[in-house]
Structure formats: C-alpha cells, structure tokens
C-alpha cells in the first residue's frame, strides 16, 4: 500500500518536474499532469479498496518521524480515502476536460491545477490546524491562478474578489488558530480536546474564530457573493472542480473541527447550513444564468451537507452514509453539470435545449438533476430518507420542515430548467462536442449511477436498483433505438407477464390495483401502437411510472413504498412533459408531487421511528399525537396526488396537455396511486383526531367539495381534455368521499370508482385525444357533428357518459346505488348535500362533451376527417365491452373486495346471492335492469324504425330556422360558453382562488429571491462586509442561543 503522503508528494514532484520542463513541451507537461493526478487517484483508490474490502485500519503518517505535537501528522482513514479519491478523480477529469486550456496556458497552469488538487487533498488528510491553514491558503492562491484559465473576462474581477475576501477570512483563521493554540497548547486535531477550549479563557472565542473562518470557505449565506461570481465566470471545468473538491475538502475540515468543538457547535453548523440551503435556493429561483444558477445550487447543497454535519449527534451510524451520499450526489451532479455547461454555448438556461440532439448528454443532464434533487435510485435519496428518519426520530421537526422546503424550492428551479432543456426550441448554435469533455461528463454520469448502486448496496433497506420493475423500466433506456412498436410489444408483454407471475401474491384490494396497472396499463399501451418512429424517451418514462406503480402496490415497508412513490412521480413527470405545451404544467405537477412526497416522507419518517414493523402494522400501532400528525401528513400527501381541491391546480394542465395515449395513463391509472395510498393509510389507521378535529371528517368535506368544484369547473371548460381533467378532480373527490365515509359500502363504492374511473376516463381521454388528433384542436366549439365521421369514438363517448353519469343500466349506476346505501349509515349528513349536487353537474359537462364534439353542426374544415386511428379506437372498444360486462356482472370484481373488506368493516356488507345484490337498505339487480331496459328500448326502437323506414335523411342545414336558413356551421353550432345560465347563477363558485393562492406564493418566493439576490452587489468590499456581518450574526446567535 502506498503511503498517503505520496499523494501530496506526487503532486509536488509533478509540479517541480513541470518547472524543469521546457515551455514548449506542453503535451509532455500535460501528460505528466494527467499522470500525477491519475497516480494520486490511484493511491486513494487503493486505500478505499483496502478499507472497503480488507477492513484496513486507518493509517497515521508522521512527518519528520516525530509524534505530534512536534511534527505535523496526516491520517488516512476511510473517509479521507473516499474524499481524496473523489477530489483526485474530479481533478483528473477536470484536467482532461481542461486539455485545450491547459495546453494553451502551459505548464504553469498545470502546476497550479496540481497545487489546487494537492491542497484539497492536504485539507482532507492533515491533522494539524496550522497545516490546514497552509493548505487553505494554497487552495486560495491556486484558485486565484486557475480563475485566469477562464475565457470569460469577468473572471479576473471574480478572482480578485475571492482574494480580498479570503484575506479577511485567513486573518480570522490565523487569529483563531493562534488563540486556540494559546488555549490548548497544541495545534493537533488529535491532541486538542473540547474541554481545553472550555477551560481556557477565550478558548471558545478562539474556536469560534477558527470555525467561522473554515465555515466561511463553505460559502455560507450571506458571505458567499464571491463564490457565486467565481462559479459564474470560472472555466466550467474549474467551477466544477471548485464546487466538488473544495466543498468536499472543506466540509471534511469542518467535520474535523466539529469534533474539537464538541456538541455545542453542532447546532451552529446546522443553523448556518440550513439557512444557507434555503436562502441559496430561494435566491436561485429568479436566476437565468446557468452557471450562476449552478453556483447557487452548489452553495445550497453544501449548506445542506453542513446542516447534516451538524446532525451527527443523531445520525449515529448513518452519519457518513448520509453526508457521504449527499457529497457523492453533489459531486457527480455538480461536476457533470458544470462540465455540460461548457458544451452549451448559451448562458441562458433556456439555451440548454441544445442538448436535446444528443441522447447521452440529455440523459446525463436528467441524471444529474435527479442526483441533485435526491430522487431514487441516487444516493441523495437514501440520504434524504435516513436524514428524515433521524430528524423525525429525535423530534427535530422544524429542521426537517426547513430542509424539505428548501429541497422543494431547489426542485422547483432545477425542474424548471430541465423543462426548458427538454421542451424549449432548440437554439441555432450546436453544442461543441469536445471528446475529452464528453469523456469527463460520461465519467460523471457513470459515477452518479455507480454511487446509486453503491449507496443502494450500503443501504439497510436494500438496493432500489435490484427491483425487477425498475430494472425493466431502465432497460428501455438501452432499447430506445428500437422502433416504437417493438418497444411497445416488449412493454406490454413485460407488464402482463409480471402480472401473471405475481398476481397470486396480492390480496383482493391490491389485486384490483394490480389489474388496473398491469392489465389496464397494457390496454392503454395498445393505443401507443399508433405512434410512429422511435418515440425516444417515451418508454423509459412510461415504464418508470408503471414500475413505480407496480412497486407501490407490492411495497410492504415505508422505504420501498416511498421509493415506488418517487419513481412513479418521476416517470409520470417525464411522461407528462412529453406533451407539446405541457412544460409549465409538468413543472407544477412535479412541484406539487414532490411537495406531497415530502409530506409523505415526513409522515413515514415519523411513523418509522415508532416501530420497525412492516408498514401496515407500524401504522396500526401508532397512537396519540404522533398518529394524528402521521395521518394528516400522509393524507395530505396522498391527496396531492388525487388532486383534492386546493391541491388540484396541477392536474388540468398536466392531463390536458399530455399526449393522446399519455392522458389516459396519467388520469386513468396514475391518479389511483393516491387513492391506493389513502386506502392503505385509512385501513391501517382508521379514524384519527388531530387536536380534536376528526381528520376523516375533514376529508369527507374535502372530497365533497372536490367533487362539486371539480365538476363545476369542468362544465365551464371549452377544452375537451381539460374538461376531462377537471372531471377527474371531481371523480377523485367522489372516491375520496367514499373512503372518508369509513364504512363498508363507502369503500366498495370507492373501489368501484377506482375501476370505473379507470375504464371510462381512459376511454374518454383516448376518444377525446383521437378527435383532437384528427381535428387539430382540443377546443370543443371548433368541432361538432363528428358523429358520422367518427362513429366509434362517438360510441365510446356515449357509453362513457352514460356510465359516468350513473344512469342505469350501465355500471355508473352501481356506484350511485352503493353511494346511497353507504351514506345511509354514515355519521355525517351535511357533506352529502354537496355530493348530491355534484352528481347531476357531472351530467352537464358530459353532455357538453358529446354534444359539442359529436352532435350539432359539422364544420367546413372537418368535412373530410377520418375516424381516429385503429390503435386508438381498439382500446376504446375494449373499454366499451368492459363497461357493458361490468354493468351486468359487477360482482366479478366487487364481490371479492366486499368479502375482503369484511375484516376491516364487518358491518354493512352486501349480499350477493342470486342475481340481485342486496344491502341493508335496498336491492339492485343489474341483470334484470339490463334486460328490462334493453327490452323496452329495443322494442320501441324497432317500432320507430319501422314507422320511419322511409324517412328522408337530410343534411345539417335542413333545420327549421324561423323560415331563414343557417349560413355557416360555426354560427349555427351552439357550443361556446354552453352553460351560460349556469355561469350566471353559480359562476362565482369557480373563481380561481386556489390558483391565485398558489400563484401568490410562487410570486412571493420569486420576489423574495429577486430582492434577496440584490445583496450581492458585485463589490468585493461588500462581500467582505457580508463576511464580517455573517461573523457577527453567528456570534450573536451563538452567544445568545
């Protein structure tokens, strides 16, 4: 094993060697640099290997052969090895990336780069405070030098600013060091003790000065203006290196200091970290320059890790796992993103859409964003989970809330950026594909995924990447070059196959969801055969969503449930994002979803700390106030997904703007995830009170209001798919209402809604999508009279609306019947009034859908359109058949569920004897109804047809029009603002209060960010003052608190 000091020695040797080189031997010099960095990385790697595999002991290296305090010593432990490896590898790939710049600037630049890497290594390795200072100063000087590599002219000023601020910082550091020495008598980390500082006069202040100076190197808010300028103007390779290496090293230095300072300093670190995290994310919101945005993000991430360092007291064994996970994610993502920014010509974040031409790079970009936001399977996710569990377990709720709020804001701007990159028009400039740069980026990408795998393996919860559905989904990334129909077949076969293999494992409740996901999903996928070409990106996203859903219903513990939740969220986000104009809607979707996910995370974390049991049992065993909190958090989280009123504003856009075959997926299937969550939650926990309020009662009201307002909004909608989307809000409100009734039939009704809603909403969305595809618009008043041209779509919609509106004999009626029976035994009566009202309103929007699209007057331009494509029609016809079948024999699905529910709600089941279904209050015979209605209908129809057998078929303008005649179909088709009287009477109910509320919040955040960032005036003197102010504020809080 090579001694760790060789790392530093190698760097020094290479530097001196470079000094000996002729100025013209640049290639050789570059070779030496690369070799040195590679060698340094190799040594670190060797150590990491030794620690990880052979369980080696940490090695102390005594310089000058003397024990401390008489000489400086270095240590190589596992964290040091990992960090130096990270630093050296980043250094190596940065050097690779910097090839052109280094060759241009010559050996001096290479030497400076080596100094920088060496200094960072030194910061990690050294156990001597003064030595730490020296390495810091070396890093400062090297940074100053490397800043000049940039092609950006402003980099000079940025470097100078850094020098000025670092002058002030180093003065603090030096004074702190010397006073610490004065207090403790030694300068060695291992020999100093927290007691020393406490005992000596001024010892605490000495430590404070030292600590604050080192922390300042972490760019805490607000003392970080200089760092942002550096990030913005430096060469991207160096910015990446600076963000990764110096952050990693300095964080470790802080970690070492915190051991010295003792537990009293942990809250200080946490406070600084969390404030920085939130503030930097907030300030990043209005940012449009990509590198500066990344700078803010770096600052935020480092703040988060600093906060984690401050939580080492509760993290225990997970400390390195969490902090390391965050550092690893940050490193791979930030290096990768900075390196990517070097390829993009535009400095505006919209310019990143140029990446779209390169599948690998765009995949890298997506991965990096996922790494940063802590999505599964990346290490940040594991870290987030452990951190949340630890924080919740020790009662640090406010901190957890703050971190999650910050993370949500971060996700906001990162996903906005992602949306721009994926959706905005590509700029004319092509990206520069420098092979060495691309190599570096691919290395970062590989590192990110390697970290993902590694952290999965280290995790106590098992590796996410080992889940079959996820692997199946990810495999589509590799298959993306295949034509769409092949992938579609693979997807269908895979899903159905998975179902066949696993369906026996599900209980009836889960089985219903499993059928909807794994059988219903492929049915919708049939429509995807209509797509031509390769449809890049569709299948990985769709399969990711289905994988998440599949894992969700298979999940038995909190962690895997949450993983599945996040996976389906991400998958559906990308799926929704595919729509033509869906970028803003996808963003609001992901933000609401992540917000909801964070609530769920908090709830799970709270619950998980109580008992290590499987999820269901753990939830069951919760008691007292915690139970109320958990229930509330989880309920709100799940209701975000079902788009309960108040949390619904993401849904209409997201569902309406999605592609034809995506809308049914996200509406018919994805929404069920929220319901499933609610069902599991309510089955496990029953009714919970939260400070005296019955949450389930509140949910009853929320469900009723969602049903009413969703439906009301739907009837005023001109856009067919938006109408259906609003209708989903209403339908989900109904289902929520059923669940919240908390009785047997309420649940049967909710489950019936789950099935029915899947069938008819998928059918209607496909139909509307097919029509929109043919007519080129989704505005219903622009259609009309399509019945003869698109008869099959019409039949689908007709059957759909009969089913939705609950008119016998179709299956919707069963839902209504069960609903009435359910409310008869419910406790609360007032919310029923609202649901009574919302039922007929559903009828209004459905009629509008069928009338304005298929009936009425056919427009000029639509005279020659054809029926929707076969593959879009096929699933619709399947659904028509299903609806009919389900109408005649609802028992097929419901009977088993009914029995299953007996164990939870023993009262009030249904009697399925014979052909009549009997409840406590009434009876219902679907077969008889169907036969009677068909008989009456059929005989009357035959009679009328017979009488009118010779009726003259007329055309659309052959109407009696007050002796005049219509001139244009547009002016004859009564469609726009169809329910004007309703608007007049009840339009006040659908004022967009909720939208305004969320918009105001977004506005406030943005404005706060925009005002806040004006703090950074660009003047180094201000920055230095910021630092001083920072010191004073922290000092004030430290002494005050």
């Amino acid at each position: 094993m090579v001694s760790a000091i060789v790392i530093i020695a190698a760097a020094l040797a290479a530097e001196f060697m470079l000094g000996l080189f002729n100025e013209r031997w640049r290639a050789a010099a570059y070779g030496v640099t690369l070799f040195a960095l590679g060698f340094m990385a190799f040594i670190s790697a060797e150590w990491v290997w030794a620690f990880a595999v052979y369980d080696a002991q940490p090695a102390e290296i005594f310089t000058a052969g003397v024990q401390p305090p008489f000489a400086i010593n270095l240590r190589m432990g596992f964290p040091e090895a990992a960090l130096t490896l990270l630093i050296n590898l980043t250094g190596l790939f940065s050097a690779l990336y910097l090839r052109r710049a280094l060759l241009e600037k010559g050996r001096a630049a290479m030497a400076v780069l080596l100094v920088f890497v060496m200094a960072q290594n030194g910061i990690v390795l050294t156990r001597d405070i003064f030595n730490l200072f020296v390495f810091f100063e070396l890093a400062v000087i090297a940074t100053g030098g490397l800043m000049l590599l940039s092609e950006d002219e402003r980099a000079v000023a940025a470097g100078f600013k850094y020098l000025i601020v670092s002058q002030v910082i180093s003065a603090f550091l030096l004074i702190g060091i010397i006073f610490s020495y004065h207090a403790t008598g030694v300068l060695n980390f291992d020999l100093m003790r927290p007691e020393h500082f406490a005992a000596a006069q001024g010892g605490a202040i000495a430590f404070f000065l030292m600590f604050i100076a080192v922390v300042a190197e972490l760019k805490p808010f607000p003392a970080n203006g200089w760092a942002l300028d550096i990030y913005e103007s430096a060469h991207p390779a160096f910015a990446g290196l600076f963000s990764v290496a110096s952050a990693a090293a300095t964080l470790y230095a802080v970690d070492k200091l915190l051991v010295l300072g003792g537990p009293a300093w942990l809250p200080v670190a946490t406070g600084i970290g969390v404030v920085t995290f939130i503030a930097a994310n907030l300030l990043a919101l209005p940012q449009r320059n990509d590198r500066r945005l990344l700078g803010y993000s770096s600052v935020a991430q480092i703040g988060l890790i600093l906060a984690v360092l401050g939580q080492r007291d509760i993290l225990g064994d997970h400390y390195f796992f969490v902090a390391g996970g965050l550092i690893a994610a940050h490193a791979a993502a930030k290096a990768g993103l900075y390196w990517l920014s070097g390829l993009v010509a535009s400095r505006d974040i919209i310019g990143w859409s140029t990446l779209r031409g390169h599948p690998v790079l765009i995949f890298a970009f997506v991965s990096f964003i996922a790494l940063l936001t802590g999505l599964p399977p990346f290490p940040g996710f594991y870290a987030k989970w452990e951190l949340a569990v630890a924080l919740a377990g020790s009662g640090r709720y406010i901190l957890l809330a703050l971190i999650l709020i910050g993370a949500l804001i971060e996700a906001g701007y990162l996903f906005r950026w992602l949306g721009y990159a994926l959706k905005r028009d590509k700029p004319s400039e092509e990206i520069s594909c420098d092979p060495s740069a691309v190599t570096a980026i691919i290395a970062a990408l590989a590192a990110g995924w390697a970290f993902a795998y590694l952290w999965g393996d280290l995790s106590a919860h098992g590796n996410i990447l080992h889940a079959v559905p996820l692997l199946f989904a990810l495999s589509f990334l590799l298959l993306d070059w295949l034509p769409a129909w092949v992938k579609n077949t693979v997807a269908i076969v895979g899903m159905v196959g998975y179902f066949i293999l696993n369906y026996t494992d599900y209980d009836p409740l889960r089985l219903i969801f499993a059928v909807i996901i794994l059988i219903g999903g492929p049915v919708i996928l049939l429509a995807s055969y209509d797509a031509h070409g390769r449809r890049i990106g569709f299948y990985p996203s769709a399969m990711l969503m289905y994988a998440g859903l599949t894992q969700l219903i298979g999940a038995t513990d909190f962690f895997s449930f949450f993983v599945a939740w996040e996976l389906l969220t991400v998958g559906s986000y990308f799926l929704i994002l595919r729509g033509k104009h869906s970028e803003p809607h996808a963003l609001s979707y992901i933000i609401f979803s992540l917000g909801g996910a964070f609530l769920i995370l908090t709830g799970f974390a709270l619950a998980a700390t109580v008992s290590p049991l499987p999820m269901f049992e753990a939830l069951q065993h919760l008691t007292g106030e915690t139970a109320g909190w958990v229930f509330l958090l989880l309920a709100v989280g799940f209701m975000t997904k079902t788009a309960a009123i108040g949390l619904h504003i993401w849904l209409p856009g997201a569902h309406a703007e999605a592609e034809t075959d995506v809308s049914p997926m996200v509406s018919g299937i994805l929404l069920k995830a929220g319901l499933y969550g609610l069902m599991v939650l309510m089955l496990a926990m029953g009714k919970q009170r939260f400070y005296g309020i019955d949450i389930v009662h509140v949910m009853l009201w929320v469900g009723a209001l969602s049903a009413l307002l969703g439906n009301l909004m739907a009837i005023f909608e001109e856009d067919a798919k938006r109408l259906l989307a609003y209708s989903s809000i209403g339908q989900m409100g109904y289902a929520l209402f059923g669940l919240a009734l908390m009785n047997h039939l309420g649940w049967v009704m909710a489950l019936m809604f789950v099935i029915n809603h899947y069938i008819y909403k998928s059918m209607l969305f496909l139909s509307a999508g097919g029509v929109a595809k043919r007519t080129g618009t989704r505005l219903m008043y622009k259609m009309g009279g399509l019945i003869t041209l698109m008869p099959l779509s019409f039949i689908a919609v007709l059957i759909g609306i009969i089913a939705v509106s609950g008119v016998p004999p179709l299956s919707g009626f069963g839902g209504r019947w069960i609903f009435y029976n359910a409310i008869l035994s419910a406790e609360h009566r007032l919310p029923m009034v609202i649901t009574f009202f919302s039922g007929p309103i559903a009828f209004l929007y459905l009629f509008r859908l069928i009338h304005t699209v298929f009936l009425g007057q056919l427009k000029d331009e639509n005279r020659r359109i054809k029926e929707a494509p076969f593959w879009v029609i096929l699933p619709q016809m399947l659904y028509v058949g299903l609806l009919m079948a389900f109408a005649i024999v609802p028992g097929l699905a419901l009977r088993r569920v009914d029995t299953y529910l007996n164990q939870f709600f023993p009262e009030g089941g249904l009697n399925w004897e014979g052909i009549t279904i009997t409840s406590q209050f009434g009876y219902w015979s679907p077969v008889s109804i169907m036969i009677i209605v068909c008989a009456i209908f059929g005989s009357l129809f035959a009679w009328l047809m017979f009488i009118n057998r010779r009726a003259q078929k007329v055309k659309q303008f052959n109407i009696v029009f007050a002796a005049e005649r219509p001139y244009r179909p547009e002016t004859t088709h009564f469609a726009w603002n169809f329910f004007a009287p309703y608007r007049k009477a009840l339009g006040f109910l659908v004022q967009p209060f909720v939208t305004r509320f969320w918009e105001t919040i977004a506005d406030i955040l943005h404005t706060a960010g925009d005002i806040g960032r004006r703090l950074y005036t660009g003047n180094p003197q201000t920055y230095a003052l910021h630092f001083l102010a920072f010191v004073v504020i922290v000092y004030f809080f430290w002494t005050g608190g």
Binding site: V807, M832, V833, L844, I850, I932, R950, N958, H973, F979
Partner: protein
C-alpha cells in the same frame, strides 16, 4: 331464481292503464286551464287524436341515428320509470318490475330519458335545441337536488330504500303519511316537483316564443307521437314516486288516479299563478328556497 313470466303481461297492463289515464289527464288538465280562462277547451279525446294524427303523417325526415334514438330513449325512460316502481301497494299484479331495483334505480332512471332526449335533439344540429337542452339540464341539476335530499331524508327516516317498504310504513291512516311525519322533506320534494313538470315558472326550457319549443324543435310525426306518449306516462311515473314516498301510496286504482291527479294539480296551480323564471333565476331559487328546507329535513330526521 324463478322468474314469474306473468309479470310481463301485468306490467303491460299497468302501462296500458297509465297511458290512457295520462292522455285523459293531460286533456283534462288542459280543459281545466281553458275553463279557468272561460274557454271550452279541447275535447277530452284531443290527445288521442293528436297522437293518431302524428302517426298518420306520411312523411318524415331524419337527421341521423341519434335522432331516432332521442324519442326512444325518452319513452324508454318514461316506461322504465313507471315499471320500476310499484303502482299499487299490496298488489303483486301491479308491483310491475320493481324487483329489479329500489328507489335509487327510479331516481337515476329519470335521467335516462333526459339524456336520450338531449342527445337526439342535439343530433338535429339545431341551435335552439341545444339552447333548450342547456337550459333544461342546467335547471334540472338544481331542481333535482331538493328531491334527492328529500329521498335521502325519507330513506333515513324509514331506514330503507325499498319503495314498497316505504309505502308499507305509511299505511294505517293519513297521519302516517310522510307528509305529516316528515313535512320538511315533503315540502322540499314538492318544490323540486315544480321544477320537473315543465310548467311555469320553470318552463323556460321550452319557451315557444323564444326558441321554438326548445329541444323538440325538429321532432315531428311519429317521433313526436312517441314523445307525446311519454308526455302522458312520464309525469305520472314521476308522481307515482312522490305518491309512494310522501302521500301513502295507493292501494287501488281509484286512489291512484285521485292522488296522481291532485299532485299534478299542485304544479298546475303554481304554473297558472306565476310568470316564468330565467334559468339562472330558477337555479338560484331552488338553491335558496328548496335546498335549505331539504338540508333541514335531513338534519332533523
């Protein structure tokens, strides 16, 4: 389960009785209205003649398949509604096809005809039809609400959804009627009743002067004849529900005829006394006056 095939002829018998009763009732009420205006009014057979005339027309036109289906849906709705509810309490002969479902079935089957009519009328492509439909649908959502509340209230009161059981509970004297045991629900339901009878003040749907009779503008000859038949059956079918729920049902045909007539007259009285509401006014009227009574009834029951 053994199906009693005799139910079919019995049901057809009920249908026959009710159709004739309906025709005569319509003429009779028109005659009453005429006498109030000091006219002689139409002959009592006029409705029969009109229907016969409409069947006797030699030509007809069609706008498409849904145009046929409109009246068929409409009449099926009327017939179905009639047959899903027992007409005469205690008579297995006139219990019709009520084995198929309970009150809720009847409540939702009302929409069957509405839906079909709306579809058929819309197929004609006539803007007046569409306007009439929006008015009708808008109004019916608000008008049905108090009725739904009343049904809920009554079901809660008797703890059953079976019409037969509800009637059974009201037997044994006039004071057992829901009218007296749960007056608020009855008031709410009777206000709602006004909205569903297409008489003033809630007849803006048809509005002959403004949107030539709204939805059926394009209907004629045998289509219209079917709808006239429905016009005879449907109000009665609807009234039968009211009668069974609130007014003790009927144990024989004379009582049936009398009660149906009296309940019908309620909407006639109101209709001749009040001018027409606009749709938004009637929606608000139902929400402000009828719904609170219904809410009160379900809270108090």
């Amino acid at each position: 389960m053994q199906f009693d095939w005799m139910k079919i002829p019995y049901a057809l018998l009920t249908l026959f009785i009710v159709i004739n009763f309906g025709y005569l009732l319509n003429s009779f009420i028109a005659k009453i209205a005429a006498r109030v205006g000091r006219r002689r009014g139409i002959p009592i057979w006029q409705t029969y003649i009109d229907v016969a005339k409409n069947y006797g027309l030699r030509t007809s036109i069609t706008h498409g398949v849904m145009f046929y289906l409109g009246p068929v849906f409409r009449l099926s709705g009327g017939v179905g509604l009639l047959l899903f509810v027992p007409s005469i309490y205690g008579s297995s002969m006139f219990s019709n096809l009520s084995f198929a479902g309970d009150l809720i079935l009847a409540l939702y089957f009302v929409f069957f005809g509405t839906l079909g009519m709306a579809l058929g009328a819309a197929e004609s492509g006539h803007p007046y039809s569409a306007i009439g439909i929006t008015r009708g649908l808008s109004q019916v959502t608000a008008a049905e609400l108090p009725f739904a509340l009343a049904i809920f209230s009554v079901a809660l009161q008797y703890q059953t959804l079976s019409v037969t059981d509800i009637v059974a509970a009201q037997q044994g004297g006039i004071l057992h009627w829901t009218l007296f045991t749960n007056p608020l629900a009855v008031v709410a339901a009777m206000l709602s009743f006004l909205g569903s009878m297409m008489r003033p003040p809630f007849d803006v749907v048809l509005a002959p002067q403004e949107i030539p009779i709204g939805p059926p503008t394009e209907y004629h000859s045998s289509y219209l004849a079917l709808m006239q038949t429905n016009r005879a059956i449907f109000p009665i079918a609807k009234i039968v529900i009211y009668m069974n729920l609130f007014f003790g049902g009927a144990t024989d045909w004379p009582t049936f005829f009398l009660k149906v007539f009296l309940i019908y007259m309620w909407s006639v009285f109101v209709g001749v006394s009040f001018p027409r509401f606009r749709v938004d006014q009637s929606i608000r009227w139902f929400l402000i006056w009828a719904v609170p009574i219904g809410v009160l009834s379900i809270v108090l029951v």
